[in-house]
């Protein structure tokens, strides 16, 4: 699906990622401490920053030069870190934004509203006025509406109440089951590994460990990540 090979990238003159290769797989978890470079890696995957070196392939095609919106058109979806949504638009407008021009757009929106009741409740409120968690739910809903082939999630459960965390985690499993691939950054190692087919651990921009997912891996990973 998505191949990231020997990636070098950074901001301005700051190099953040060093020869990072992400294993391919249905659900891939990216783990690491603060500042390890996880977000950077995902931003690169969706095209917000360009690699200085390395291969970025999607469905066997080189997409290194594609703009993010083109990548979305090809079936990638991205949920950024930090509850980002369009504050000036209402919750509903946020959803319509992505639904626009899609067949069954309406149905897709309803599906998500059903999944996240809070959004239904505050459909007409400006997203900027929503609570943090509500915004995060909104962000995920936006991503799902695009019916992606690849879902890129940067700490999706951050700031969300446990019941819904469970809901989201459940959803991710479900989607994976339906054959959608997922690139996941998640601090809850347990869940991440449980969901993941493969995982990679980053430390200050270097890959320190990769391996098969599954709860079994937890202990080795913790060891790798222990401060």
């Amino acid at each position: 699906m998505l191949e990231l090979t020997d990636i070098e990238a950074g901001y301005g003159r700051t190099q953040v990622l060093h020869r990072v290769t992400v294993p391919t797989g249905k659900v891939v978890a990216v783990l690491g401490h603060n500042g390890a470079g996880k977000t950077t890696l995902l931003r690169l995957a969706i095209g917000l920053i360009k690699p200085t070196k390395g291969r970025v392939f999607f469905e066997g095609e080189n997409i290194a030069s594609l703009a993010p919106n083109k990548r979305v058109a090809r079936g990638m979806a991205y949920v950024p870190q930090g509850q980002q949504s369009f504050g000036q638009l209402t919750t509903m407008e946020n959803l319509q934004l992505v639904a626009d021009g899609r067949r069954r757009g309406k149905a897709l929106i309803d599906a998500q509203l059903a999944r996240f009741p809070a959004l239904e409740k505050f459909a007409t409120r400006k997203a900027g006025l929503l609570s943090g968690g509500q915004r995060q739910q909104l962000a995920i809903a936006r991503a799902l509406i695009t019916e992606p082939k690849l879902l890129i999630l940067d700490e999706p459960t951050e700031g969300i109440q446990p019941t819904i965390v469970a809901e989201i985690e459940h959803t991710i499993m479900q989607l994976a089951g339906e054959g959608i691939s997922v690139l996941l950054v998640e601090q809850h190692i347990g869940f991440a590994l449980e969901a993941a087919e493969r995982y990679v651990v980053l430390a200050s921009g270097f890959v320190t460990q990769t391996g098969e997912g599954g709860s079994a891996a937890a202990s080795t990973v913790r060891a790798a990540m222990a401060i």
Binding site: I46, G47, L48, A67, P68, N69, V72, A73, Y78, P80, Q84, S85, F86, G87, Q88, L89, E93, Q96, L97, V98, D100, G101, K126, G128, L129, R142, T146
Partner: protein, 294 residues
């Protein structure tokens, strides 16, 4: 009584012209956050295109109707050019666009001065705009009515465009958070170009109207830019209805001040008025609530 009606009409006409000038800004400035100081020069471009059209279509009855769309496209294309060459690099620092476009304005002015007769060119008003229409005992100059009509049409068209197509939404999303918009599948570049094209095009239309009211020369743009910005600001950024009301209010205020005081004092008072108003309502007439810091 006469001291009320006459200024009211003149004011509405002036307001309409102001509105036309401000309409484009309410897109490029209000929606996109670009402070385009060359907007006045785009207006000038519109006026000159009206003149050029008249060189081809000499029947002035026909030329103006033709000139309107032409001016829209020509000015729009200049705007587009500006966007793709310069503005596109500046979205991350809106205040700087102000300075860059000041430079653009200077260049356009000088170019116009050298290309066209320095004294300016005549834009012949169509005969069907001659004379006045007498409604309820007051004679209303056709030209003023035309300006008002034109403004109304443009506002209607623009608001429809923003309301009934998804563009309005996309523009706002793009401005609010480019990266997020991009990753949401919006072609932010496309949106930018389109918005800027339309915004500048509207300036062109305003130019045609202006060419029928004042002189058509290299300096004409300068006198509209500041008032236009004030109007957009007073209306509340990104608030079309606000812009409309503000423009009308400023126009009428100008007219009344001019009627009761002198032409110069009117300018001053009108400015002061807006400034004081913005003092009282810093966010303009209509405001978007945001959750502070969020």
């Amino acid at each position: 009584m006469d001291g009320l009606i006459a200024p009211l009409l003149n004011g509405s006409a002036q307001g309409a012209l102001l509105l036309l000038a401000a309409l484009g800004l309410s897109l490029t400035f209000g929606q996109m956050g670009v402070i385009n100081m060359a907007h006045g020069e785009f207006l000038m471009i519109g006026a000159f295109s009206a003149y050029l059209v008249q060189q081809v279509i000499t029947a002035s009855g026909l030329s103006i109707p033709v000139a309107l769309p032409v001016a829209f496209v020509v000015a729009g294309l200049f705007g587009l050019l500006l966007e793709v060459t310069i503005i596109r690099w500046m979205y991350r620092r809106p205040l700087d666009t102000l300075l860059v476009t000041v430079g653009v304005g200077l260049i356009l002015q000088q170019a116009a001065l050298q290309i066209f007769p320095s004294q300016g060119v005549p834009v012949e008003k169509p005969r069907w705009l001659d004379g006045q229409l007498t409604i309820l005992g007051y004679s209303w100059p056709m030209r003023q009515l035309f300006t008002i009509l034109l403004a109304t049409v443009c506002v209607a068209a623009l608001s429809a465009w923003l309301k009934y197509t998804s563009f309005g939404r996309r523009i706002r999303a793009t401005v609010h958070n480019r990266d997020l918009a991009e990753t949401t599948g919006i072609s932010t570049r496309g949106i930018d170009r389109l918005t800027f094209f339309v915004g500048s095009g509207l300036a062109g239309v305003a130019g045609v109207a202006a060419s029928l009211i004042g002189g058509t020369n290299s300096q004409m743009g300068a006198q509209y830019i500041i008032p236009a910005f004030l109007v957009v600001a007073a209306g509340g950024i990104g608030q079309l209805k606000g812009t409309v009301i503000a423009a009308w209010a400023v126009g009428v205020a100008l007219a009344f001040f001019a009627y009761w005081t002198t032409g110069s004092l009117a300018q001053v008072l009108a400015f002061i008025l807006v400034i004081v108003f913005l003092q009282l309502r810093p966010q303009g007439l209509f405001t978007v609530r945001t959750r502070s810091l969020a």
